[in-house]
């Protein structure tokens, strides 16, 4: 039962062939059996989950479910504030921090009846692409425990791929949902900037951060998106645009849609086995009547460079709040200035320090124009490239990552090599566009490959239609890693 994908579990709950308490017990048993090998979870909230599951069964018995998700176990990346539950963002500086309120997405999942079962591992403050930057130790890839699950939402991807939980939430600032989804073989959606509230999400780079769902199949992602999306008075960047019906988008025809194939995303650095899997996935869509068109996104190759200026600048400002005064760790030391400097030295890991310093540097007197302002102009050009492409195409298809999962430790000493793993995902963040990664095959070594679709602003429904059309013709998403 723990192996049921989210949509099938929701149907089983609706048909009362499975109870929420049974579904929860199955997840907890599987976590107990397997998570010692994966370290996807930082903590479980079994007691509150059992109470939530019992309440869900009560509602189902009375014929009053709150939503299709009522009774479905869901886990949260540890970046979402949850009232009364320790929330660390993978950082020592927040160890022991218990938020007094729920993030909007957490409150929405609760109102939908979802059973929240625990908090998932992540790169510290979502800075990383391997989950190795967690202060609490790395997560392992379910397909090969000597490899990383990707990151920063690596705990979420590993938990979903190993069927420890049918669905999870992650966040994506430069690829942190799509890249680990690709490396672990699950589906991950980064919505349009503004589609989902960021209130109560520990901030990394506020103009890029977006919350999104991860699940074993496209339907699961659609269910979760329906529950969390929509305007929130507590996030002024959240959009008032009405939501589409994501569940019915799964059944929509895709024939007649045009897919852009950007030549910049199929060049040097792309692993041939990953490319072959992605091209096979594109061919399946073509078989469904999707038209292909080669396009160019000429400024996309500059995306990583622009991103590491914009994202670190915003991070240096956002992370100024961790000063040992109102929450989190405080160093036991002399003056106020020493307290700030020592608290942050003890509380932050190396990658977070690097990014804070890089962001401080690019914003500092004499460098603002050369770095920050220039990067924002390049960002405008990247967004314009996409806008021009979307005059001709309905979505853009590419690999999600240049390679399959890489070995633990391989890139941890070389920050730049790690950054380049996000080369295909970062452009959508800079342009604020929605993107989805779906499993599209395996390498000869048995590692999953991901196909990415990027859509027009608020084009999530089109992405879900295309992703589901692809999934209907494959069983990649149904393969189970041989754990144990």
């Amino acid at each position: 039962m723990a192996l049921l994908p989210l949509g099938a579990l929701a149907e089983a709950l609706e048909g009362r062939s499975v109870s929420a308490q049974e579904a929860l017990a199955a997840c907890l048993a599987r976590i107990g059996e397997l998570d010692g090998k994966l370290h996807a979870f930082l903590r479980l909230t079994g007691d509150s989950a059992r109470a939530a599951a019992a309440a869900s069964d009560e509602r189902r018995a009375q014929g009053r479910p709150l939503s299709p998700l009522d009774g479905v176990p869901v886990a949260l990346k540890d970046i979402f504030c949850q009232e009364g539950v320790e929330t660390t963002a993978g950082s020592r500086i927040l160890q022991g921090y218990v938020p007094p309120y729920d993030a909007t997405v957490v409150a929405r999942l609760k109102s939908a009846g979802a059973v929240l079962i625990g908090k998932l591992n992540m790169d510290e403050f979502a800075m990383g692409s391997s989950t190795e930057n967690s202060a609490f130790g790395p997560t392992k890839n379910p397909w090969d425990p000597t490899r990383t699950p990707g990151g920063s939402s690596g705990g979420s991807a590993a938990a979903v791929a190993a069927r420890l939980v049918p669905g999870a939430l992650g966040t994506d600032t430069g690829g942190s949902i799509r890249q680990p989804a690709a490396l672990c073989g699950c589906v991950g959606l980064k919505p349009t900037y503004g589609r989902v509230s960021r209130y109560g999400v520990i901030a990394f780079a506020s103009s890029l951060d977006q919350v999104g769902p991860m699940a074993q199949d496209v339907k699961g992602v659609a269910h979760l998106l329906s529950a969390i999306a929509g305007q929130d008075a507590r996030d002024q960047t959240s959009s008032a645009r009405p939501l589409d019906d994501y569940a019915s988008a799964l059944e929509a025809k895709v024939s007649g849609l045009t897919l852009g194939v950007p030549k910049e995303f199929f060049g040097a650095g792309l692993d041939p086995e990953v490319e072959a899997a992605v091209r096979a996935g594109i061919a399946l869509l073509e078989k469904q009547g999707v038209k292909l068109r080669e396009i160019s996104l000429p400024h996309a190759p500059y995306a990583i460079a622009a991103y590491y200026v914009v994202a670190t600048a915003e991070a240096s400002s956002n992370l100024a709040r961790f000063d040992g005064v109102r929450f989190g760790h405080r160093a036991k030391t002399g003056t106020l200035l020493q307290m700030y400097e020592q608290t942050r030295a003890e509380g932050f890991g190396d990658e977070v320090k690097r990014r804070i310093m890089l962001g401080t540097y690019v914003l500092s007197a004499g460098y603002y124009d050369a770095y920050y302002l220039r990067a924002q102009k390049v960002r405008a050009l990247i967004k314009d490239d996409f806008a021009r492409a979307f005059e001709e195409v309905d979505a853009i298809v590419s690999p999600t990552t240049p390679t399959a999962a890489f070995p633990l430790g391989e890139k941890s000493a070389d920050p730049l090599a790690m950054y380049l793993d996000d080369v295909y995902t970062v452009p959508a963040n800079l342009a604020g566009l929605p993107g989805i990664s779906v499993p599209c095959g395996f390498t000869k070594g048995g590692l999953p490959a991901g196909l990415q679709l990027v859509g027009r602003p608020f084009g999530e429904a089109t992405l879900l239609s295309l992703a589901r059309a692809h999934e209907r013709q494959t069983d990649w998403h149904a393969r189970l890693p041989a754990l144990g």
Binding site: Y193, S239, A305, V325, F327, K353, M357, L358, P415
Partner: protein
Amino acid sequence: MAIDAKVVRHVARLARLALTAAEEERFAAQLSSVLGYIAQLEQVDVSRVSPLSFAGDAAAAGAESTLRADEVLPGLPREEALRAAPAHDARAFLVPRIIE
């Protein structure tokens, strides 16, 4: 663009990060490598481009219509706000003395 330990020390002070000498050296090398990569932005002609700082829904970008009604709503109670602080009394966060 290469930066040395002295620049790292200056930036770390601005960012309120205490670093050891060994960390200054290590971060100088790593940040130089990243800045070297970022330097490729200089190849892009941006002479006629306006900077983009917000890629979201323009209608949500500070438009008056997105402001909620000016009503008093309950805020976080003081004891809740103080609960997670490393040092506090019944009324306030406590920090090391800054005025002698």
